[in-house]
Amino acid sequence: MNTKFKFWGKLTAIFAITTFLAVIPQSPAIWAADNVVKVGNIIPLSGPSASVGQQGKNAREMAVEEINAAGGIKSLGGAKLKMIYADSESKPEKGVAEAERFINTEKVHVLTGCWNSAVSYPTSAVAERYGIPFIVPVSVADKITEQGFKTVFRIAAKDSWWTRDQFAFLKDMEKEFNTKVKKLAFVYENGDWGKGFAGQWKDLAKKGGYKVVVDEPYPSTATDLSPVVQKIRRAKPDVLMLVSNAADAILLTNTLADYKVKLKAIIASGGGHADPSFLKAAGKNAKYIFDIVEWETDVNKPGAKEANAKYKTKYGYNLTGEAVDAYLATYVLKDALERAGSLDPAKIRDALASTNLTSSPGMIVGYDAVEFDKTGQNKHASLVMVQINDIGKGLERITVWPKVARRAGYTPIFPMPAK
């Protein structure tokens, strides 16, 4: 190639770039036009947790639509949020690889995800290494916020709070219905989430004076859970406590009914049991199951009904705790971006750390504020217990605990009648 041409080409390019750069500060309009906040979302869109991942995606989309329609991030000249999704397939290595790709190739400003604790945990290390803020709407393993990381922020309650509340609920039920519970069975998926829960259950059971008769992890990909169910049946526990993903939650519930296992109560831990397809696929076998969640459609909060109605007409099913967390997370991000007024990840991180969100369209959760402690955990996150029952309108999830939040006129069924 002609050297002269090369030189002129370079010169023009440099000139063009400098003019462009020079123009930007003076004209916010141009700046805003190609100004977007890139948010990388790593969620399970296929594999065993695809159903939950899809809900998280829907909730994010709804929040982003609302935020962008209302003028985007004003302190950034109306910058729009742009969501980029990656499928983790519930696999830790996929989560890590996608986080690397998002940060290095897509140049995202913020990461969110990953629902599966096993994926969020290693992914948080990637975010920390690059200093990219990582918002975890819901992944409950305690250790995610206990690594001393600066960039991890979790909206949902951590699992030690979930298990604490499950046992508090059990004690309250025993008192309210004057029924003694002695033997507990723990059956849980063989991942970070299930094992984390089970470890805490064991401690709590010891403290509470319960006897653990079954302690059984199982692979979430199991095609047949009847051996596990037979084990439960022979051990004759009073209460069965579960941690399950969706496919196995359905399979377990149906198999328990098939084998006519007699229990006083089943206490589930959200996840698969909170999946909208769970009620449809398990049908009347799901009756009387107690489940712990962060949010229920009957929550008494302004805007909650409207948000749920909008979501339902859009996607065909109710909001779940997971979806609400994702919805709220998007608004928490918006709030932080407004205060950061910059796309510098460090500034966004600092803004997130000083979050104190009390009123926002996203605040449809049962608690009153989002505020992160030193570890990045939302201090105010709280939980409720629901019971699945049919009170004349088909199967639904009815809030029963804490007693102040119980749906008016409903008495929980405890112990469970024989089916």
Partner: protein
Amino acid sequence: MGSIYGLTALGLTIIFGVLKVINFAHGSLLMVGMYVAYWAIVFTGLHPYISLIIVVPVMYFFGFYLQDIVIKPIFKAEKDVREPITVIIVTTGVWYILDNLTLLIFGPQYRGIQDNPLRGKMIEFGEMMISVPKLWGFVAAVITAAAVYWFFQKTRMGRAIRATSLDREAASLMGINQFKVYNVAFGIGTATAGIAAVTLVPFYNIFPTVGVLFDIKGFIIVVLGGLGSIGGAILGGIIIGLIESIGPQFMTATWTEAIVYGLFLLVLFVKPSGLFGVKYDW
């Protein structure tokens, strides 16, 4: 449950035996079969097992044309190779396409057939409980295996298929149209996946990636029982099923997977052709 694994593996082993191709899309074919059965039952309100008359032909032709349109051209391009690798890659592609198409069309929700006469039926002998739909699954597996065996031994087409599986070129020289044979074999393999799907539908969830769960087990069973062996597939399935159901009584359920894979490795070390495999084929 083991017999249903066996039924899934049966289709795999037929396709492998004849085409000498490991069909990675087999789990997806099972998944397609489950969706066909699901919609057939939901729309017509038929008894789940009667839906076989719809599912089996649909699946047969699905497999037949899948082979004819998608796999055959690749086969022709690689006709000089005994075990065409590219075809394996194509089946992997088919697997991804089918799974993701279903994900797009039907969404990731879990479906189950609520009101079917078989759901939750149990035969009780004191402490022993046997699930009725699973018992029928066993019956279906044995009948299907017997029928396939009879077909391969006694009918003209069956003999043609066996001839092709032994020596592709010699069979062609004898005037057998090998691609037609492949289509039929693939169709039969897919139809058995359809039968497995129908036996699963009354008590199992239907979702787009359901096939993956059965796929891996199918491969293990086929290797365990011997590649290309019909009886081996069913027996291998029952062995895996027994390990899965008896194992957890003595240890935690997660250990059974380790045992299954351990056994798989052991068989590969000791008798690579599988329990009922034919040695000369290797």
